[in-house]
Subunit: 247 residues, 2 copies
Amino acid sequence: MSSTTEPINLTGSLEDYLETIFLLVADHGFARVRDIAKARDVKAGSVSPALKRLSDLGLIRYERREYVGLTLEGELAARRVLARHDLLRRFFSEILQMPDDAAEREACAIEHVLSPEAMDRLVRLFEFLSACPESQSEWLRRFHHCSLVQPELEKCENACCRSTLPSRIDEKFHNVFQLKPGHEGTIRQVRAQGAVRQRLLDMGMLPQVVVRMERAAPGGDPVWISLNGSQLALRRAEAETIIVTEL
Amino acid sequence: MSSTTEPINLTGSLEDYLETIFLLVADHGFARVRDIAKARDVKAGSVSPALKRLSDLGLIRYERREYVGLTLEGELAARRVLARHDLLRRFFSEILQMPDDAAEREACAIEHVLSPEAMDRLVRLFEFLSACPESQSEWLRRFHHCSLVQPELEKCENACCRSTLPSRIDEKFHNVFQLKPGHEGTIRQVRAQGAVRQRLLDMGMLPQVVVRMERAAPGGDPVWISLNGSQLALRRAEAETIIVTEL
DNA sequence: GCATATTATTAGGCTCGCCTAACAAGGCAT
DNA sequence: ATGCCTTGTTAGGCGAGCCTAATAATATGC
């Protein structure tokens, strides 16, 4: 018997099968090939060999044409996958406030690659939020309100940012367009929404990243800025949505 | 020309190649097959067909036996991957305080499956922490101190939890073992460390999950508790590390 | 009991992405 | 120039994991 810690290495696909079987057994008391195929949205012909593989790994009990049952090891593995799934779903849903279906999709995609170490840390984050009412009600509420619902820095500054710590008050918030050539700033927020925001994020306009204004075309329309050692051209309107604090 | 938003669907492997090429070009000014193979830890024979595929997709410029260059589209795609990578790495490193190498591994594994939507939300989280000094210095510092460095609920209770919100003060913190048969509680924290903690998390002992004490064996050693509709047996010592608030 | 419908298995293909090993093309030294 | 060494390409294999289509086993209706 491989006692406490057996680091079985399952593929993502097999983990999915295991998870599906666990849920089917929990919900309906049994799991047949057809149900599994339907739940996983694959054809029945793909399920049989997968069950064979799981059976060879000792994770399920399966006699041809009989109901599928999890072994003890299989149940452990299934619970592990489900716990990761649940944790991730709740992170995207409760912390990042994504819609349920999107949070679910995200969790499905990531659950197979999240390490136990990262899982541990993420749980501690939830524990902290869950056990510390102050953190939860204040910080999380503010985050949801300021950044997700009403993402305008002025309001946020009034509501929370400028309120307590004097050290940052003298830091000047500019947008990138206002930086003088040769000057640098640390990105604090990208206020653009939708596709433009997406594009800017994709380019690497992430918080804490340092950008330098290189030069602006006459009239200021394309401006060239550099970040991470490479140069990019931005429309003036885009540059104006990037809030920085000058270095 | 596929203007603003072209939703090219790259496989994880091709994204990795693109990322590698981008970094090699940025660092050394050129990228050869051998360098790419070395950086990605694959054999040179695997690289050529990958370059062919990227070339067919219009993401790189590549003449047989010449240096590799990114097209404009390719560079955009590479930047997008890198931005996700960077963001994730920093999440695991700065927020969850994982060691650099572990954070890096985690980022590598997840970067290919994180949706733009989730990326957006995660960026807003960073923006919030970055633009709101109060949040950052108070909340994050407390989290790191209370949950990651010194994970003992008593200290945490003194330092932050019991300090402000009176509503929760009357909630009794118990451990699962102290629950009477038939009674339920909401998990707040799993204090066990190491392998035992891992096992409990794997079983689904996650914050906010409701558990019910079913029964305890005479002497209290295995105790049976149920969560998510299924029963589990726990050692007494394990049950005592699970902190709940009774419902 | 026998025909039909449902369900499961198997066989044969396919893609992706890796491998190894053989082969091709230049660069460099003698 | 000849040959070696480094580098790149190609061919052939392999495993995962999906597909379809044919077949086998079980259940159900008449």
